[in-house]
Symmetry: C2
Subunit: 201 residues, 2 copies
C-alpha cells in the first residue's frame, strides 16, 4: 500500500503479527489507534514496551511475575504450601484464581504432551514439577488440564511418574457446566458426567 | 483481575480502547504480544508511539502525511491537477489509490452530513473544498461518497453549492459489484443498477 504513510503501515504490520488479525483488521485497528487521544497512545506504546521489559517467569511455578524472580502467588504466605494445582498455562491459572476456589500453589506446565505436534514430556515443565513435589514436600497434586486427548495423556503421564511417591493425586471433575443447556452438550461430556455421578441417597 | 501483573493489565486496558475489542479479546492479544519476539515488541511499541508523533493531516486535502505539511499525492507533479475526487475519509482514499483507477487529486471531507447524528455541513470540510475548487481552478469534481442517505445528502449539498460555478460535477456509478452473486444483493442496488444501465446496441 504505497499511499499509506510509513508510520501507519509499520503499525499495520505490527498488528498483523497478532493471531487472528488479518490485513483488513490491522488497518482498522491502526486507524483506531490514530484516533485515540495523545495520552492513550503514549500509554499504549509504553504498555507494549513494558510487557517484555518488566514481565518475567516465576522461577518456581512459571507464572508471570512483575519485576521479581518469584511470583505473588508463590510469595504468598497465606496460601497452602501442601497442595499443587497443575495447569497448562498462565491463562488457566488466572481463570482458577478468579474462581477463588483454590488456595494452594500452582505449577504451570507451559503446554501439554502432544505426539502429533511433536511436543514430548521433556518439552514441557514436568521434570520441574516432579522436583518441586519432592523438594517442597507436596502432599496433594490436583491435575487441572483440559479434557482433550493431550490433556488426558499429560495427566496420565504425570500420574505414572508419581506412582510410589508419597503424594495424593486427583483430577478436577468432568461433567455438565453450570448453566449449560443440556441440548448443546456433546455426548462425551454427558458420558463423563454420568461416570462421575455423585450418590445423593 | 488481581492475579495479572500490572504491565499485562495495562496492555489489556490499552487494547480495550480499540473498537470491537472486548475484555477476552484484549487478554488474548496481550498474551500474544507477550509471546512475540523482543524486536517485534520493540517495533510494535515504536509504531504505536510514532503514529501520533509523525503522522499529520495534509493542509490541502486532509489526507494523512508523514513528517510534512503536504501529502505525497498533493505533492505529486505527475497527477492531474484539474480533477478532484471527493471522498469521506482516508480509508476510502486508500481504496481508490489501490484500484489505480484515478490519477487526479483528492479531497477528504472527514465525514458526511448527518442531521440525525448532528453532523452539519460546517462540521466537515465542505467550505475548504469549495475554496479549493475556486483557488486551484478545478475543472472536474467526482463525488465518490457512500450510497447511503448521508452520502447522497452530502453529494446533493455539494452539487447545490457548485451550481453556477464553472466546474463539471459527476458521481461514481452505482450498480452491481464485480463478482457479486445477484442472489445476495439488496433491491436498492438492483434498482440503481437498472436505472444506470448502459446501452449496448
Amino acid at each position: 500500500m504505497k499511499s499509506i504513510p510509513k508510520s501507519l503501515s509499520e503499525l499495520i504490520e505490527s498488528f498483523k503479527l497478532l493471531p487472528g488479525i488479518g490485513e483488513k483488521n490491522a488497518v482498522r485497528l491502526s486507524f483506531a489507534t490514530l484516533n485515540l487521544k495523545e495520552d492513550q497512545v503514549t500509554k499504549f506504546s509504553e504498555a507494549v514496551k513494558n510487557i517484555k521489559l518488566n514481565i518475567k517467569k516465576c522461577k518456581i511455578c512459571n507464572n508471570l511475575t512483575e519485576n521479581s524472580e518469584i511470583c505473588d502467588i508463590c510469595n504468598d504466605k497465606n496460601r497452602n504450601n501442601d497442595i499443587l494445582c497443575v495447569v497448562e498455562n498462565t491463562k488457566d491459572l488466572i481463570h482458577f484464581e478468579e474462581s477463588n476456589a483454590f488456595k494452594g500453589k500452582y505449577h504451570i506446565l507451559e503446554g501439554l504432551i502432544s505426539p502429533l505436534e511433536g511436543v514430548n514430556p521433556d518439552d514441557i515443565k514436568i521434570n520441574q514439577l516432579i522436583n518441586r513435589i519432592k523438594d517442597e514436600n507436596i502432599k496433594e497434586v490436583i491435575l487441572a488440564l483440559n479434557m482433550s486427548i493431550e490433556g488426558e495423556t499429560t495427566s496420565l503421564y504425570i500420574l505414572k511418574l508419581l506412582e510410589g511417591m508419597n503424594v495424593s493425586v486427583s483430577k478436577i471433575a468432568a461433567g455438565i457446566p453450570v448453566n449449560a443447556d443440556m441440548e448443546y452438550l456433546d455426548s462425551l461430556t454427558i458420558q463423563k458426567a454420568i461416570e462421575g455421578r455423585n450418590k445423593l441417597s
